[in-house]
Symmetry: C2
Subunit: 189 residues, 2 copies
DNA sequence: AGCCTATGTTAACGATGACTAACGTCCTCG
DNA sequence: CGAGGACGTTAGTCATCGTTAACATAGGCT
């Protein structure tokens, strides 16, 4: 009532449909009509809900990176020791990747279809998220310098975000496998 | 003289330029004129060397996946035992990713901008490459079933192919780090 | 009832961008 | 030397696609 609330349905519906389309064919490979068709309306009706096609992508990508960052921070804050924080970060990333394969794909692939402004915004969130990992990694293993920790974090993201490319296991088995492999990779640094 | 040989220079030059452009902006984000400009000629002159823009992408992607597959097979054949084969596969993938970050990026991102025919061709090579890994993994650790081995292979690819996203370490340090993490991840299965 | 807003629809418009045409130039080879 | 092919150039063409315009309709609020 106070600020802006109360209109979740249609926008969200469009966004998730767009995410799946983008994931499958790439941002430029999807037409405005395709997205409309996916939610039962046709073409330009989308402009009642979004200022432009780019605005959809922007909202998707900023949403993803913000959610990742926020979730990561929360898990770290809730942890007692560095090892616990690391484990929670791994679980968080695995959970996110497994539940949102389309978002992961779009996030990795279509970032540079964004306007400079939005791209900078997303990259900043990404950078902060990486720094969350770097800090935790270095607390867990003090001999690690920042550049190596950063590279390791990227590698672990790559490992976990491989989900959209495999996905032939059921969710819980996949989750277990990715967690184990991530911890194994980190332990080997 | 006999079959087709003898015209490497210009085509290759165009292909590597295109690869870099595609890696930076995505296949649809790059214009024919951009690619031309990158090699000093302008626009439609490219059609003296390629039948279409799609043909460039096709040649790039089939080239990559064929090289990966061939290289992988060779390393495995040259190895004495399963452990050795695994180590050689890891080294091969790391080496390839570190030396061809643009190719890796395009390979992961623009696959579905291909025609059905070409896409199928590339995917088949990819599948065979994965199977090379799966076989080696299962010989190295007989208790592993194929679905898990496949998922693990994809995860290791993701880990190693993260290179284009980090790259703040020098090549040899990065190579060492990725190899260690890959082996650690595999050991943790 | 009567209006206003939210939400659609279809029919243009305009830009972009891949591709082709028509035309030059040099290098090679008979 | 002179013809032909390899390689470029610039100026169209044509399709696609994002976006806007003009026009409906349905539901809530006064």
């Amino acid at each position: 009532m106070s600020t802006d609330a109360a209109k979740p349905s249609r926008r969200e519906q469009i966004l998730t449909a767009a995410a799946e389309k983008f994931a499958r064919a790439g941002f430029h490979g999807v037409g405005i009509d395709d997205i409309g068709a996916a939610v039962g309306i046709s073409g330009p009706a989308l402009y009642r809900h979004f200022r432009s096609k780019d605005a959809m992508l922007a909202e998707l990508l900023t949403g993803i990176s913000d959610r990742l960052l926020l979730g990561g921070k929360q898990r770290v804050d809730a942890a007692a020791d560095p090892q616990g924080a690391l484990d929670r970060l791994v679980r968080w990333q695995v959970e996110f990747a497994l539940h949102n394969p389309a978002l992961i794909t779009v996030h990795m692939r279509d970032l540079d279809s964004l306007s400079d402004r939005d791209r900078r915004r997303v990259r900043e969130s990404q950078r902060l998220y990486v720094e969350v990992w770097v800090d935790v990694l270095r607390r867990a293993r003090p001999e690690l310098d920042r550049p190596r920790a950063r590279a390791a974090a990227h590698a672990v993201f790559g490992l976990i975000n491989s989900t959209p490319f495999s996905a032939h296991l059921d969710t819980s088995a996949m989750s277990r496998l990715l967690r184990d492999m991530a911890h194994g990779a980190i332990a080997a640094i």
